[in-house]
Amino acid sequence: MSYRIDRRTMLRGMGAALALPALEAMLPAHAAAMEAPLRMAFLFVPNGVNVNEWFPKRTGFAFELPPILQPLEKFQDEILVISGLTHHAGRPNGDGPGDHARCASVFLTGTQPRKTSGAGIRVGVSVDQIAARHKGQETPLPSLELGCEPGRASGNCDSGYSCAYSSSISWSTPSTPLGKEVNPKLVFERLFSQGTRPSERRQRRGLQAVYQKSILDFVVEDARRLSRQLGGPDRRKLDEYLAGVRTVEQRISKLEQRTKEELGPQALAKPQGIPSDYREHLRVMADLLVTAFQSDLTRIATFMFANAGSNRSYRMVDVPEGHHSLSHHGNNAEKLAKIARINRFHVEQFAYLLDRLRSIPEGDGTLLDHCMIVYGSGIHDGNRHNNENLPIVLAGRGNGTIDPGRHLVVPPETPMTNLFLSMLDRFGVSIDWMGDSTGRLTGLTL
């Protein structure tokens, strides 16, 4: 395949960057001098899990890792396995089938999506975007949305739900799914659009500061004038346009404030395209996420390992069947074993990400210490399509605000959004509620 990426080249590049003695100098000044900034990421896997092999038997410390979670053994002291969280809004509640689309759009919003395959898509604002709205202006990119499968390109997505619902977990407004970038090359360009060499960056920043702002001022005026001549639904489209302009403006002004040393590892090689190997693809995306956090280009990210209801096959772990077809396992032992292999494969890639984060020293600890990473699915068991007791892992110490190393069991029907509120608190965003939240989640600390 022509666009097969050479990830080794890239990793070599990154390795070189990490080996540079002046690494600390390249990091944002405050990373060394002040308390490290807190980062949050949300990782989504589709189709629920084999629940028999996911949930630990014992609670509290020193629990035994069940088979699917065993790849996390090295990180047992860094993770909190949480049982009992629920997405009530993922249930039909009168809307009938479509659990896959629902579970993805509910995953970070805790809000029931409006059932439509076209007109009037609507769910809630997702937790990452609430964070981005309040804190995103502190970094060049307010947030980063990653994935490995593009939005589905044809056909009905899931029982009358628009494809936007099953292919996007980040929503910046109730009607704006952010989609995600699946091409590592384009993620790289987005992160380092100012160029990777300081001289190149300086030059481009100069040009952009003068001219791009003129373009933006001009088109904003265009949009405002046009908006006055349009009806409601059309005006909303222009609002999306204006929100995009504001994001770009903010980014330009942020970059102007940075000194040249502040931006990212210089030796990071640019990925060439989408790797044909899925494992490679997941790992390159993880590398980019880590780089974005490390360079403080953003502090907020989402990552869809696959779209909701994905029917990808996993031959690398000897599963030729489609994941979604398999997930309707009917308690067949053979199928359950295969699902567990898929789940474990995903968890291995999660472990890879944690490994990368922990390998990067930052302040008096590692980058992972300054993270809150949620990993999980919006469905408990793919066969039952149920939304209680979701499989969720929270990794990282959240700058010392989380005590990991435990299996935390919360009361049945505890809204997942309660966890989000508690994370937002730690992130410095204090809001009263989101989605179906009923309060804060206690138990993240002892």
């Binding site: 479509g98 439509t116 007109a119 088109v219 046009l226 349009l230 639904p233 222009l238 980014r251 030729p320």
Partner: protein, 640 residues
């Protein structure tokens, strides 16, 4: 007959004969209407009260269908949605639910006929054009528009995030959102497009339409250049005010120390990032006037035509006709359609409409198990796609009957595909027209379709049946109940017998049976084709039985006959479904119950025009929804 009550409307031979006399062979609509004439109108009504009354009459009526209110209303307009819904549900035997008392086929026919009579009360002389939400250019439209605007074809939008899909297509206004990331991409793309355009001799010719000299000042020339470029980019004459603002922008950038060239570059970039370029603007004169209906102006029609048939901006001729105010004339519209379909740019209709209608874009991501199907590789994947696109292209270019999609005895293959199909004497890469073996008929038996409707390790008669109902018959089955039990597979499955036997056990549940009976009989008709479309006589150790019986007692012995039979018995369903898809794509919005008159009028035109492809396109382009615009959106789409 067990299946008789599933599609009861086709059952009666005398009625069918009546339909033949009317010259509308096998027409479902005609059957329905004929029945309405023959029966006293009260019978259907009484039956409806009897069978549906418990849940759909008066206070607390379920599902938004209250027959009491609907029957009491002197006007049918406000209830066209619920009437249409009940028509479809009763006709498909999805209502009353399996757990309730069931009408006999006769009674069901009477109910359907009566509802049809209610729908027929809709006054089609009233315009109900519906409303299309402001559409931004999708990725492909952006690429093609840039190609035609500056004359360089380098696909700058391939790096943009993928466009969301609604109603099966990626050009739906409501679903085409604009995430902030996309705006960044627009800025970068504009920079690159203009940089390239100012280097490229061809593109320079399109942009620099004048040169400053003794007779033309620098500013006057710049003004001309900007007026020309912005008018084409905005797909309508730029206003004086807009032009002044563009000139002012160039001046302002110049004053900041930019060169003339840089100033021009920045201003052209601003045009390419302006909402007037990125969105297909159709203004509302009175934005919030709820009853306003407005005829689109000539430039708006030019854009509707060009984006429908070419996925790009209007060409010089369309602009000329728009300037002359001629594009609203039906004769001119028809002439333009014929010209545009003959133009190579109509390839966009193949790549965008056909590929999405037939769900061919899924081919990119199917992963047949290489252990079982070693012949399948990326090369064959491309061949499969090309076959179906070539077939669609032929029907379009030769202006064949759209019924060829169902029954054509020909297709297009190269050596690899010929081998897959067992056709001798085809050598080389080139695709050519060949006659098909008798069991392959129309697009449904193409390897592409048979592959996208299969699982990686086995065929799925259910998804093939569902695909046929959705894509070919335009009657998608409702989604399964959440607690549906899956199909047994693997060792356990062998004990249970053939796939057909297993599926029969699976649908013992009456809740599942209603829909599965319809889906499975169609899907099993295609079981002679394996998951990558190769003919087979056996599945594992079991011989394949691809015979079946359709509602109305119509039997078929295998896939070839199935397609022939469908083309007769379900012709109107196919035409109506195909029309809906094409209308959705043409308008960029979902089809709504209020579009009923439009659909019916197009159906008549198709019938009178031998089902030729161009007749359908011309009928759409001259319809009210294509030429008018309501200030208020209609209800939600009915194709959900």
């Amino acid at each position: 007959m067990a299946m008789n009550d599933r599609f009861p409307v086709y059952a009666s031979r005398p009625l069918l004969a009546a339909a033949v006399v009317l010259g509308v062979l096998g027409s479902f609509f005609a059957v329905g209407l004929a029945a309405a004439d023959e029966r006293p109108s009260t019978e259907g009504r009484a039956l409806l009260e009897h069978f549906c009354g418990d849940c759909h009459f008066g206070e607390g009526a379920e599902g938004g269908v209250d027959f009491e209110k609907m029957m009491a209303s002197p006007k049918v307009d406000p209830f066209i949605g619920p009437w249409e819904k009940s028509f479809n549900m009763v006709r498909a035997a999805l209502m009353p639910p399996a757990s309730e008392e069931q009408p006999t086929p006769e009674q069901r026919r009477a109910m359907v006929a009566w509802i049809d009579g209610q729908l027929a009360r809709l006054d089609c002389s009233v315009k109900r054009p519906g409303r299309v939400t402001l559409r931004r250019l999708n990725r492909d439209e952006y690429n093609r528009t840039i190609r035609d605007l500056v004359g360089i074809d380098f696909r700058p939008a391939d790096d943009f995030p993928s466009d969301d899909v609604g109603y099966g297509f990626d050009n739906i206004g409501d679903v085409l959102t604009l995430p902030p990331m996309l705006l960044e991409k627009y800025l970068r793309a504009a920079e690159e497009i203009v940089a390239r355009a100012l280097e490229d001799p061809q593109a320079r010719k399109k942009i620099f339409i004048c040169r400053p000299g003794p007779k033309l000042s620098k500013e006057a020339c710049l003004r001309r250049i900007l007026k020309h470029f912005a008018s084409r980019a905005f797909r309508r004459p730029v206003t004086d005010e807009e032009l002044e603002r563009l000139v002012a922008l160039a001046r302002q950038v110049r004053q900041k120390g930019a060169t003339d060239r840089e100033a021009l570059s920045i201003t052209l970039q601003a045009v390419l990032v302006s909402p007037h370029f990125l969105f297909r603007v159709e203004k509302d004169p009175e934005p919030d006037d709820p009853d306003g209906i407005r005829a689109l102006d000539d430039y708006e029609i030019a854009s509707r035509l060009s984006y429908f048939l070419w996925s790009t901006m209007p060409d010089e001729q369309l602009f000329r006709l728009a300037a002359a105010g001629k594009l609203r004339r039906p004769d001119i519209l028809r002439k333009e359609v014929r010209r545009m379909l003959a133009d190579p740019r109509s390839e966009a209709l193949v790549q965008n409409f056909a590929a999405q209608w037939l769900t061919l874009r899924r081919l990119e991501r199917v992963q047949p198990d290489p252990a079982r199907f070693p012949q399948f590789n990326d090369q064959l994947r491309e061949d499969m796609l090309e076959e179906t696109l070539a077939f669609f292209r032929y029907i379009l270019r030769q202006d064949r009957s759209i019924l060829d999609f169902l029954t054509a005895g020909y297709t297009f293959v190269n050596e690899r595909l010929a081998k897959l199909y067992g056709i001798d004497g085809v050598r080389g890469e080139e695709f050519r027209k060949v006659k098909l073996p008798s069991q392959r008929r129309g697009v449904v038996t193409h390897a592409s379709i048979l592959t996208v409707t299969s699982n990686p390790t086995r065929t799925s008669p259910v998804s093939r049946g569902k695909w046929l109902m959705e894509t070919i018959l335009g009657t998608p089955p409702p989604p399964p109940p959440g607690n549906a039990a899956p199909l047994a597979e693997g060792k356990e499955a062998e004990l249970l017998g053939t796939l057909r036997e297993r599926l029969e056990q699976h649908r013992a549940d009456p809740e599942c049976a209603t829909c599965h009976k319809q889906m499975d009989v169609l899907g099993f008709g295609l079981e002679n084709f394996n998951p990558i479309g190769v003919w087979r006589e056996k599945d594992g150790r079991f011989p394949i039985d691809a015979s079946g019986e359709l509602p109305g007692g119509i039997t078929f012995g295998g896939p070839g006959e199935l397609m022939t039979v469908l083309a007769e018995a379900r012709r109107d369903d196919f035409c109506r479904g195909f029309t809906k898809k094409m209308l959705t794509y043409a308008l960029g919005r979902g089809v709504v119950p209020e579009d009923r008159c439009t659909l019916e009028s197009i159906r008549r035109q198709l019938e009178q025009g031998d089902y030729r492809f161009s007749v359908l396109i011309e009928a759409i382009v001259t319809s009210d929804p294509f030429l008018y615009r309501a200030a208020k959106p209609s209800g939600r789409g009915m194709m959900e």
